[in-house]
């Protein structure tokens, strides 16, 4: 209930602002040629990015799960790290590399790199909790790798892939950084421009409501593609390795593919940052740098915990098919497509009347939770849904109370999904900028705000260390949680 109220806050705000507008104004905004063009670009880009990111994401996850490599768990964490790189850093590093790097295709390329990890992560988590016994059966039946994927793996991971794809499409809808630098006109950019130019909050709200409508549509699509799992969830084992393919040729191809993604999505941006830094190196203020890192971690961790606390009941209720759970689930996702500035202003509007709360660390973390809990709610829902019912029944038969069953059976089994969802919230919150600028306590600087304070005056060399540290700080939780081979964290022991 709380989560639902929280999620609908920005929607109420938008409606209130949009209603301030004159009818003629609304008509002018909605029915001009440019709006249609913007709409077409937005939809086209979202569809193209989602399709590519899903394909690449599933392929990467499958390879990283099924094929044995040296340093495999390291690679599994590395492919997720591009999530920590702000989209404008991606865009900027490619602009530096290729003069004239601009337009739709450039944006498609950059956003695919940036959003693939959402699919990879959710798919990997799904693979890890897929049912081992069906693999054994299919191997016994002599199916080949491709057949196993199509008939056994795909049905089990399909819902998670859809959830990841949804995240990547909502990311594209709300992205401003890369879009603006690469000069593509999407709805989010149009909204931002209206705020900047005319301070006209009602027209901006109208465009934001269109964005809400699109995201509602996407969520509906995802929901329809989500099927009831008709697999009997008999085994609760969590597996760490799939059907291992040992063939050298396949191994090499897979390694090449993974490394190509890492080169484009991680090595190139980071090396560009390094070269910007060394091209014109200035003295680094280490105390500022370390303080900003701690602040970033602090606010993002708090945000992630609040997000988990809000997403957990929603995900559980939604998995059990409760109406309230499903509605809240959707409200949370819809809000996720909104640009940061809209969410920021909605919270300013609500928070500024409460003096003690306004611009406190608490409100900032709450904003992060609100902005990003959509990233957790999908994996909470699907991991709770996959907990075998017979285990819950057995627990009940053994005389355990519902709450105890939840604590001792559901939570431990759903932990991989919960952790990966929380991780995504954490990584996204670390690089959040527009809402942070509005809501942070004065003097509380995060890596993203520091970076912005230099890039806004074109001092990229001074911003570079902050960007690098952002990736580094983000790497810590990613590696910590993503250590399946050690028999803990995401993977967990076999039970």
């Amino acid at each position: 209930m709380l989560a639902f109220l929280a999620a609908s806050l920005p929607l109420f705000y938008l409606l209130r602002r949009a209603l301030d507008a004159q009818i003629s104004e609304i008509a002018l905004i909605l029915f001009r040629g440019k709006t249609l063009e913007i709409l077409a670009t937005t939809l086209g880009l979202t569809a193209a990015v989602t399709a590519c990111a899903s394909l690449i994401g599933v392929a990467l996850a499958w390879m990283l799960f099924n094929i044995d490599f040296p340093f495999k768990s390291g690679l599994q964490a590395l492919v997720i790290l591009p999530v920590a790189i702000p989209s404008y850093v991606f865009a900027y590093s490619w602009i530096l590399l290729i003069p004239g790097f601009k337009g739709f295709w450039a944006a498609l390329f950059v956003l695919v790199l940036a959003t693939t990890p959402y699919v990879t992560l959710t798919t990997l988590a799904a693979l890890r909790r897929s049912d081992w016994s069906t693999y054994e059966v299919s191997q016994t039946l002599g199916l080949n790798g491709w057949q196993i994927f199509a008939r056994v793996t795909w049905p089990q991971i399909k819902n998670s892939v859809a959830a990841g794809s949804l995240l990547s499409s909502l990311y594209v809808l709300s992205d401003f950084g890369a879009i603006a630098l690469l000069g593509v006109d999407t709805l989010t950019r149009a909204i931002e421009n209206i705020y900047r130019g005319s301070f006209d909050r009602s027209s901006a709200s109208i465009l934001a409501l269109i964005l809400v409508a699109i995201s509602a549509l996407l969520i509906r699509l995802e929901e329809r593609s989500r099927q009831k799992l008709n697999i009997v969830k008999s085994s609760a084992r969590i597996i760490t390795k799939g059907v291992t393919t040992g063939k050298l040729r396949i191994k090499l191809i897979a390694l090449l593919a993974i490394n190509t993604y890492l080169a484009l999505g991680l090595v190139i941006p980071i090396s560009q940052l390094l070269s910007i830094f060394f091209a014109n190196s200035t003295s680094i203020n280490y105390s500022l740098l370390s303080k900003a890192s701690l602040s970033t971690l602090l606010a993002a961790c708090l945000g992630a915990l609040i997000a988990l606390a809000l997403a957990l009941p929603v995900g559980v209720l939604s998995a059990q098919g409760s109406k309230l759970g499903k509605v809240s689930d959707k409200a949370i996702l819809i809000v996720h497509a909104l640009p940061g500035i809209v969410m920021g202003l909605a919270l300013v509007s609500f928070g500024s009347s409460i003096g003690w709360l306004y611009q406190s660390l608490l409100l900032l973390s709450f904003a992060y939770a609100l902005l990003f809990m959509a990233k957790a709610v999908g994996s909470v829902r699907s991991s709770v849904a996959r907990v075998p019912e017979n285990l819950i029944e057995i627990s009940a038969t053994l005389g355990q109370k519902k709450s105890a069953t939840f604590r001792r059976v559901v939570i431990p089994l759903a932990t991989p999904g919960l952790l990966s969802g929380t991780l995504l919230v954490l990584l996204a919150a670390m690089k959040e900028l527009p809402a942070t600028l509005m809501l942070k306590p004065i003097g509380f600087e995060t890596l993203a705000t520091q970076m912005w304070s230099y890039t806004s005056i074109f001092r990229f060399n001074e911003a570079a260390p902050y960007a690098l540290l952002l990736v580094l700080v983000a790497a810590i939780p990613t590696f910590l949680i993503n250590r399946p081979d050690k028999g803990d964290g995401l993977g967990g022991d076999r039970i």
């Binding site: 440019k34 603006a180 705020y195 005319s198 301070f199 961790c301 003096g355 306004y358 611009q359 660390l361």
Partner: protein, 336 residues
Amino acid sequence: MRTKRVRAIALPIALILSASLLAGCAPQEDAGLVIYSGRSESLISPFLNEFTALTGIKPDVRYGDSAALAAQLLEEGHNSPADLFISQDAGALGAISEAGLFATLDDAILNRVEEKFRSSRLDWVGISGRVRVLAYSPERVKNLPTSIDQLTSPDYRGRIGIAPTNASFQAFITALILSRGESAAGNWLEKLKANAVKLYERNSQIVAAIDAGEIDLGLVNHYYIWEVSKALGREIAVANGFFAPGDTGNMINVAGVGILSTSSKKGSASELLAFLLSEAVQRGFLEDTHEYSLVLKDANPQGLPPLSQIPAPRVDLSLLANLSKTQALLMKVGLI
């Protein structure tokens, strides 16, 4: 096993969080002077530190984009914790002024700058000047156009860059609408677009593109040459040019400050404003950011004429607040 690890991670996090929450929630009554600043930290904080050393007043600054801060101030309305708003352009100041959220300033402050560089409602004042110029490549452009109208000629096809979403460009178009009327301004924009003008997000990108040889000319503010050169760590092959006297392409805009009417510290706020208009700080703006001083009338950024000799058109900066007409026009033409 798993619970153990989760505990190992969770415990220190919980400790840090609770400790910092306690620290974060400590009441911050009597906070210092609260400034919302669209001017970035490295350009203003050295002066603020000086101010603290002089007066003992410690400002608490929230940095952000001028327009986003203006939107935030409008959203906060009378609940705003801010005492002072420093904006990088007149438009954002005008929006706050129009909403009636600024207090009237003292004459002593207002009279520091010429009438044309302050609000006609007397509730904000310019602190530095920024001139619109035609940045160009001296190598590839031998004869400068004398009027913005020449930019639409086939000679310049595909060679010009603009940043139509940028506040400074929109202020220029607003001035154009004021001087020529909406249809003439729209006409000019249509022709410019038809002349394959290249669109950028930021002024600095335009200057960098001229240096890189992507384009030859661009409509920007005068100080970007230094900014880009400093960022790249080398001299760049771009120069500032002006159109003929009185052309709207030479307009002067300002960065400025207003005091919020809800402020309970108007005295300290005025003191700070007076300090920002003092000679020492004005000279600092001139040297650090190559902006024009509005107080030292004969001082000029290196290589440019003094402000009084800029062939600028007369523009009422107070009218720049309402950019909705300008935006509607830019939308109609399809540039934003």
